[in-house]
Amino acid sequence: MIDNNQLLRFTTAGSVDDGKSTLIGRLLYDSKSIFEDQLEAIENTSKKKGHEGVDLALFTDGLRDEREQGITIDVAYRYFTTPKRKFIIADTPGHIQYTRNMVTGASTANAAIILVDARHGVIEQTKRHSFIASLLQIPHVIVCVNKMDLVDFSEDAYNNVINQFEEFSSKMLVKDVRFIPISALLGDNVVNRSENMDWYQGAPLLHTLETMHISSDINKVDARFPVQTVIRPQSDDENRDYRGYAGRVEGGIFRPGDEITVMPSGFTSKIKSIDNYSGELKEAFAPMSVSITLEDDIDISRGDMIVRSNNKPKATQDIEVMLCWLNNSPSRPRTKYSIRHTSNDQKAMIKEIVYKIDIETLERNKEDKTLHMNDISKVKIRTTKPLMIDEYRENRTTGSIILIDDTTNETVAAGMIV
């Protein structure tokens, strides 16, 4: 594999039976990423279930409950590699806990594939998926118009979907949308170009995924370095004087000599060195894990953030977020939750539910003041100590938070800072 090959993470969205599992199975199968013993297992199961041929969907339907019920219940990750890129697929199920799972899968994705059944066109679900993709700021969206074989590979059917989609998505913040007519079942325009749709001039899905420009998806301007832990060798070690701040660059570019400020304390210093295991680096950018040493001896610990002095995030105890509720038990008013933002752990309270979004109609509901699983709402949160935040659309890492219920330790909500 070539040295410069990048990693692309994508998620798939679609209603039940739109063909998500089949599409993923097809991508893996046609890119020769399914091993013989896996294929054999699928063949056996297909036979047991009375399918003719191999049901490619079975390849992604992993756990026993799912195999028995024939449904996907959680986010599963799949991998395949082509000579051009390595891919990670977040495969999310298409039913009840859908919002929560799609939000999870979307949180790390560079791209979303939204499946539309060519026979049904854009439906409420499609709007919902597009909304989540825009909410999570997935940089690239590919709308795959599937089951083209069932509409005689008709260009009109395809154009209808495009028109319907563009009509409603103009109101949303999706930067890069593309459309591809496919048949996941037969393989048309998935890996190989379709021979049934001469009228389509664009690239098949895999080629699109292999070539789409993703390196500018990461913020290169606002330098952010949340400190995870401090590296200090033991006193008997030859490196005992070393004191490095370990973390991952989450935005911008750092270089030795940069004037930095440590937040929230406000102390300033200069970067002495940026190190990794192999030695000192000339620069570090997202998402590199490094350790940073400073010219001055200042007190820094986990939860602090090193930033360039001329470009600071906002330090505040009051944040507004688009919150997705993830837990079975609903939100409790006037309850303290743990809030985690990068490596910073604080307590927080939901002060106000500004509105809830009806995920079916995308309308705002200002009356309902309880958050249930899968609800998406705009809320105001007050934290016990300041967080160093950016807006989510500027930076997906320094712009996101989770809430943890201290009575169960479960992650109950995820939020995008607006």
Partner: protein, 301 residues
């Protein structure tokens, strides 16, 4: 101007280092589960990078079934010496002697399932709150849903239907007394990624991974090594073959493949042309379609 993006191996490395540092920051008493196989060697290598120039700040733990390849044990002891870290050993033989578990009988008997008890006992007695493993999501379908931080209840059990959602890279390792976590820093690596990286970094791995002459017997579609534990069936015959192992488990159940690959480069080439998953050669996974999931629920690696 230089390029401002990472290639896929650097990105995977950076992600794994991030996870390892999160483990160290969020837990009081983590360990690396060290089996002597390539995945746990890789995790150890990444931990070395994550905390350099300091030593790895936590111990390695080996669940010793007593049915080891001798090469594995030597490799383990050498790496411990080199890293200057503590080794914790949980012994399956001791669990058997103490009556905690009973040995399976018959020719296909393995100590694989028995490891679960020994592992959970060792976690409890050593007050370990996070066991870092080399599990990868591409290995097996039950693993495809694992989180980076995977919660275990106070019986050490995994509940795949009730996992904590994991968004972005915010990991929630909060737990109550008696519960622990498993952490999987190389979740997103495939077998091919592992080999490409081992080759790139020239990481030392046990000689068993390289093609070598060995006494073996053909059983369940692979070459099972001759050892003091092997019980020969009537029609079976010990032969000498040039083999290598794709994964390392107990000597009693780990099947080799015939191969001439005796360098990392040749291994990487061979793996990229393989049409069988690496676990296809392990009889512990062949017992039923959900064999792995069942073991994982109970607390397996």
């Amino acid at each position: 101007m230089s390029k401002y993006y990472l290639n896929y191996l650097d990105e995977l490395e950076s992600e794994a280092i991030f996870v390892l540092r999160e483990v160290w920051a969020q837990f009081d008493n983590p360990v690396i589960l060290f089996s002597g196989g390539k995945d746990s060697i890789l995790v150890t290598h990444l931990a070395k990078k994550a905390f350099a120039p300091a030593k790895i700040p936590f111990p390695l733990m080996h669940v010793d079934t007593g049915h080891n390849f001798p090469e594995t044990i030597k490799f383990r002891d050498d790496i411990i010496k080199e890293l200057g870290v503590q080794l914790i050993v949980g012994s399956v033989q001791e669990s058997i002697d103490q009556g905690r578990v009973a040995e399976e009988k018959g020719k296909n008997a393995t100590r694989n399932a028995l490891q679960i008890t020994t592992l959970l006992d060792a976690i409890e007695t050593n007050k370990i709150d996070c066991a870092i493993g080399g599990g990868r999501r591409d290995e097996e379908k039950a693993r495809a849903k694992e989180r980076f931080f995977s919660h275990r209840d106070d019986f050490g059990q995994w509940d795949p239907k009730n996992q904590r959602p994991e968004l972005w890279n915010i990991f929630n390792g909060k737990h109550f007394e008696g519960e622990h976590f498993r952490a999987f820093p190389i979740s997103n690596w495939t077998e091919m990624d592992v080999w490409n990286y081992i080759q790139r970094e020239n990481i030392a791995i046990p000689s068993l991974y390289f093609a070598h002459e060995r006494e073996v017997v053909w059983r369940q579609n692979s070459w099972i090594p001759n050892s003091e534990f092997l019980i020969l069936e009537e029609h079976e015959e010990i032969v000498t073959k040039k083999v290598r192992f794709r994964t390392l488990g107990d000597i009693t159940i780990t099947g080799g493949i015939e191969s001439d690959a005796d360098t990392l480069e040749k291994i990487a080439n061979e793996v990229s042309g393989m049409r069988q998953t690496e676990r296809g050669n392990r009889s512990d996974d062949k017992r039923s379609e959900s064999a792995m999931e069942d073991r994982k629920r109970q607390g397996y690696f």
